[in-house]
Assembly symmetry: C2
Homo-oligomer: 389 residues x 2
């Protein structure tokens, strides 16, 4: 069932138990919608050492446009070189002296794991829109298959923010016996109508760009303008009104830029455009369509009949982290998730990160994040679950 | 200085003092930025009768994509046939048995008043981007010129919501001796960073549409997709998270539509698309660029040095109306406007409309709006201002 090879992204295979980027190719993965991905290459990275009992695994799940590069061993003190760099490492919240930390790029993405830009096995051309719909449950299935292939049957902890938080929640629901602790940050049972609408407008902007060509743009090309608009919209949902006001207000931009323009340009506008340009250079537009759709479609109750039935499956000790100025998954929704878990017989604690940084606070407010996560991660493991394999 | 004629939109001239749609053409209007509009046709409508003393004029100012058609005499009980239909008429809050109500389409718009789609006097071709930048102050100058041409030197009341509210505020600041009462709804001294960013993204969507052609699309054609995306974004700022959640939640759409699509479509998405389609059929894309820029650029302190200096000019009795779920001009900002007016020596009262309908509540919550406006409009006029001309 498992084939090993060098992935197209240049990620090298290696044995579990050591640090570094690597990849693993599964012959096939059945997806929630009934389709099959065959083969499925999964790019992943690990930090720390797998304990002989294989009971010290911390799976961290990346957000929408993230990758497996959660920590950069070469630049551990640069907070931007790995997306959770300040939280992972020796002595850090995810203490690699204790945990074997794993992060895997999700199916549908474009950082080494099979996605719309990967070659279709039938003709070697990119999948593009022939790529099947993937869901958050599929991301979790892929991670589960990766871990089983590595001989890991149980997670000491699974953690993530945003779509990564949905994955952490789905892990606890889908594989209750396999998760000891779960940390869900800036995520809830499902996305609300306003956020769904924003994501849809963003996808329309991508698909309205003639360079999208029905998804059939050449590798390296694509709907730069449409994807840029989508990213600017997303950035609004990652920031907050108070944060933008404090940082930018109505200040004019220091210099204008290459975008088409109408009227004077403001600093807040060129900031968003800069963020858009950065994403457009690094991310595949079709992947953006697939992954935002996965986020939108996620509903914890799907397949279980109700929230209570879904959340009642959870055996893990849960930590739900809301962010005070989060607009995508408002703090009240994260608090409600924790309450719903407890009302369903689970054990969830809610903590709130007070920050003007909106949804992105979990990728910015390092001291506060460390303070919130460290006690939960440092405490002894759960004794209520089944014995470790 | 004033020429009278039939406007291109088929609006007929008429004398002041009677009801009906009409137009007036000024030879020229100097604009805030130094440019000149020559000529400037202004489409306007009136309801009620002008009193012999000319002291019963209520000017109502329309919002971004509105027109002079605030009331529909033929369909007075259809709340959608005129944008403030339920509030204007005999016995209504703007009681036409007392007030002579006037509404004028603003320069830059596309409902009869000169705008980017109007013929340039030099060559008869549409102005398009040759149209000068117009500001909220220019809208007010145009209204002032119209009223003076009609022999009206003083307003019993000026009122508006959103960009119309900015106009009401600017009237009170720019022509303090000419305004007895002013009603500012869902507007404040200036727009905040987040809303500025949304407007900029919307304009980028319009200009990114190849059908925009640098503004040179043929009359009747234009960037339908880009303008549609802009409108959907704007609709988000006119609604509220709680309102969308209550009305739509995650309900799937009853039927799909002609838009490009990715993944299942939801009711909230097709609702926004329907709103977009309606606007695209009725509004000029270049006008949208000009008018959103005017809203963004408005700053009450401009030309006065400070808010205090600007607001200190006000002599009118002011009513500021915030809407509890307004996201474009949050209620706290409208409250702060009223407080700033009072701290600058003025007389402002703040009232709040509690509603899930967001910024659009002033165009939807008719009973509440009536209850909030009626006492202010029914009270005797100010005795502190100069004697009526």
């Amino acid at each position: 069932m498992v084939r090993r090879e060098v992935t197209p992204g240049g990620v090298n295979m290696g044995d579990a138990g050591a640090s570094g980027p690597r990849g693993l190719t599964l012959d096939r993965l059945e997806l929630e919608d009934g389709a099959t991905l065959a083969p499925l290459t999964i790019a992943y990275e690990t930090w720390g050492r797998l304990a002989p009992a294989r009971d010290n695994v911390a799976l961290v799940c990346h957000a929408l446009t993230g990758s497996a590069h959660a920590r950069d061993d070469a630049r551990p003190d640069d907070p931007r070189s790995g997306w959770w760099n300040p939280l992972i490492g020796p002595g850090r919240a995810f203490d690699t002296d204790r945990y074997y930390v794993i992060c895997a790029n999700v199916p549908g993405s474009c950082y080494g794991t099979t996605g719309p830009a990967s070659p279709h096995p039938g003709d070697g051309e990119p999948y593009r829109l022939r790529f099947p719909h993937v869901t958050v449950a599929d991301m979790v299935r892929a991670q589960r298959a990766l871990l089983l292939a590595l001989g890991i049957a149980r997670l000491a902890v699974v953690a993530g923010g945003s779509v990564g938080g949905l994955q952490a929640l789905e892990w606890a629901v889908a594989y209750p016996e396999a998760v000891e602790k779960a940390i869900v940050i800036g995520a809830a049972q499902r996305l609300a109508a306003q956020a769904l609408a924003i994501d849809d407008i963003a996808r329309q902007a991508i698909m309205a760009d003639p360079a999208w060509q029905g998804g059939s743009y050449a590798p390296g090309a694509g709907p730069r303008v449409g994807l840029g608009i989508a990213r600017m919209l997303a950035m609004l949902t990652y920031t907050s009104a108070e944060g933008l006001e404090a940082r930018f207000g109505r200040r004019p931009a220091a210099r204008a830029s290459g975008w088409p323009r109408f009227g004077p340009r403001l600093d807040v506008e060129t900031y968003l455009q800069h963020q858009a340009d950065k994403l457009v250079d690094r991310f595949d537009a079709n992947s953006y369509l697939y992954l935002t759709s996965a986020m939108d479609r996620y509903d914890v109750a799907a397949g279980h009949g109700s929230d209570r039935a879904a959340l009642g499956r959870i055996r893990a000790e849960m930590l739900a982290v809301g962010m005070s100025s989060d607009w995508l998954y408002p703090a009240a929704q994260v608090r409600a998730l924790a309450e719903a878990i407890n009302e369903s017989g689970g054990r969830a604690r809610y903590v709130e990160l007070s920050s003007p940084n909106g949804h992105d606070a979990f990728l910015k407010d390092w001291d506060a994040m460390d303070a919130l996560l460290r006690p939960f991660l440092a405490s002894p493991g759960d004794s209520r679950g089944p014995p470790h394999e």
